[in-house]
């Protein structure tokens, strides 16, 4: 067993530098690497390119790095609910690359799986397709999309073991397993860290081979963006 455990988020993010490209898991505020984001905020590196489906809210998630003007470019599918984001984007401080969500996911997986490019129907005929190769398959036009590259991927899982194996919970899985595959260095934070052998090998979502560092996160807020309930 190859042990991937590091002590905390600070050790997890060791080696990050200005102007790097990061992937950050999560959908909305669900399944985001809260501890890694805090640590990145603390050390204050700048000029980051962040690949993340969303950009957090003003005071949580990636919004924290936006507040500190640490992000140069966001690559996302949807970036609503964030005033500071809007301000920086409209002022030209922040570069934004909007990508269809399924293409975003597949480009992460492709990066991890050694597939440099693939064809998808998503975005054909729209501005997303501008400058991209178009090819017809089965009578339907598709565009060529390329794998991402990322220096680090920061992901959040529910449980993990010393070998770096990860299990996600509910819809907090989302982009995390794909980004875990894609990072040159993948840093996983988990709510529960267990010895190797405690997770059943059948139930693992992300095999430890994709994870270079794992640590037990602390103080998870797990904020809910849209609290919707029904009457009893």
């Amino acid at each position: 067993m190859i042990n991937k455990v590091v002590a905390n988020a600070e050790e997890g993010i060791a080696g990050v530098k200005d102007n790097m490209t990061f992937m950050l898991g999560g959908f909305g505020l669900s399944g985001i690497p809260e501890n890694a984001i805090s640590a990145l905020q603390k050390i204050g590196i700048k000029g980051l390119t962040c690949i993340s489906n969303n950009a957090g809210v003003d005071d949580f998630g990636l919004g924290l790095l936006l507040q500190g003007h640490q992000i140069k470019k966001m690559i996302s599918s949807y970036v609503g609910e964030n005033d500071e984001f809007e301000r920086q984007m409209l002022s030209g401080e922040l570069e934004v690359d909007l990508i269809p969500q399924g293409t975003l996911a597949e480009r992460c997986r492709a990066a991890g799986a050694g597939i440099p490019a693939f064809f998808t129907p998503a975005g054909y005929g729209t501005e997303v397709a501008e400058g991209k190769e178009v090819r017809i398959f089965n009578g339907k036009p598709h565009i060529l999309e390329h794998a991402f590259e990322a220096d680090y991927a920061f992901v959040k899982a529910w449980k993990g073991d010393e070998a770096g194996n990860l299990i996600f919970k509910g819809t907090a899985r989302n982009f995390n397993p794909l980004m875990a595959m894609a990072g040159k260095i993948t840093v996983a934070e988990v709510e529960e860290l267990v010895p190797a052998g405690e997770l059943h090998p059948n139930e693992i979502h992300t095999p430890g081979i994709f994870v270079q560092r794992i640590f037990k996160g602390t103080n998870y807020e797990k904020r809910i963006e849209q609290r919707t309930v029904r009457q009893r």
């Binding site: 909007l98 969500q101 729209t126 819809t171 797990k222 029904r230 009893r232």
Partner: protein, 218 residues
């Protein structure tokens, strides 16, 4: 009388067939889940990673690890499954999801749809909409027939940046049900009490009216 949002949702629900997997967008489409016809089984997919999505949780039972694509807290029904975003959009692109209902700012008579970007306004992004419309054969748009300024949203061609090209199969509005055909919008049904003339006046794109147009049955 023109339908309200629930009426539109109710009419769209009639398009569902037994065994359908359905993806519902935000807004009116979400309401469709309230009107599943009796006697059929359908399952709802949310593109952030769940099949078998259930109703909102009871108060106090919200789980931050269990949300839908609108970031709302939800529940999972028996037989549900969770999965990652690549598998989720695999289901969508691979046409395993049979029907997608989503809103639109504009629909063109050739099936083009624009629903993600207004030049000059803050762009939030397309989310999964471009993947959804480019994939399933059964893309249904749920929207008001006209915008707040009273202008038709059913156009000869879209003026806004496109979400997809030639993808919309059917449009259900507060006034009418229309198929998108090679020749334009084919009027199928009128909202109760709404005349063909009213629909014609509210439709800027080519509207095909053949024979008697029945009223929707809700």
């Amino acid at each position: 009388m023109a339908l309200d949002k629930n009426g539109i949702a109710q009419r769209i629900a009639q398009e569902m067939q037994d065994g359908y997997y359905v993806n519902l967008g935000i807004g009116i489409p979400t309401l469709v889940a309230n009107y599943i016809p009796q006697g059929i089984s359908v399952e709802f997919q949310s593109e952030n990673g769940i099949l078998g999505m259930g109703p909102f949780p009871f108060e106090g039972e919200e789980d931050p690890d269990l949300i839908n694509a609108g970031k709302q807290t939800i529940t999972a029904l028996p037989g549900a499954a969770f999965f990652d975003s690549a598998m989720s959009f695999g289901m969508i692109r691979g046409q395993h999801v049979h029907m997608t209902v989503l809103g639109a700012m504009e629909v063109a008579e050739n099936g083009d749809i624009a629903n993600w970007k207004i030049p000059g306004k803050m762009v939030k992004g397309m989310g999964g909409a471009m993947d959804l419309v480019a994939s399933a054969d059964n893309i249904i748009v749920a929207m008001m027939h006209t915008n707040r300024a009273g202008e038709s949203k059913l156009l000869p061609e879209c003026t806004l940046p496109l979400t997809g090209v030639g993808v919309v199969r059917k449009v259900v509005t507060d006034l009418a049900v229309m198929d998108v055909t090679p020749d334009g919008f084919k009027l199928l049904e009128r909202a109760p009490g709404v005349s063909v003339e009213e629909i014609k006046n509210a439709t800027a794109g080519r509207l095909i009216v053949e024979g008697d147009i029945p009223e929707m049955k809700l």
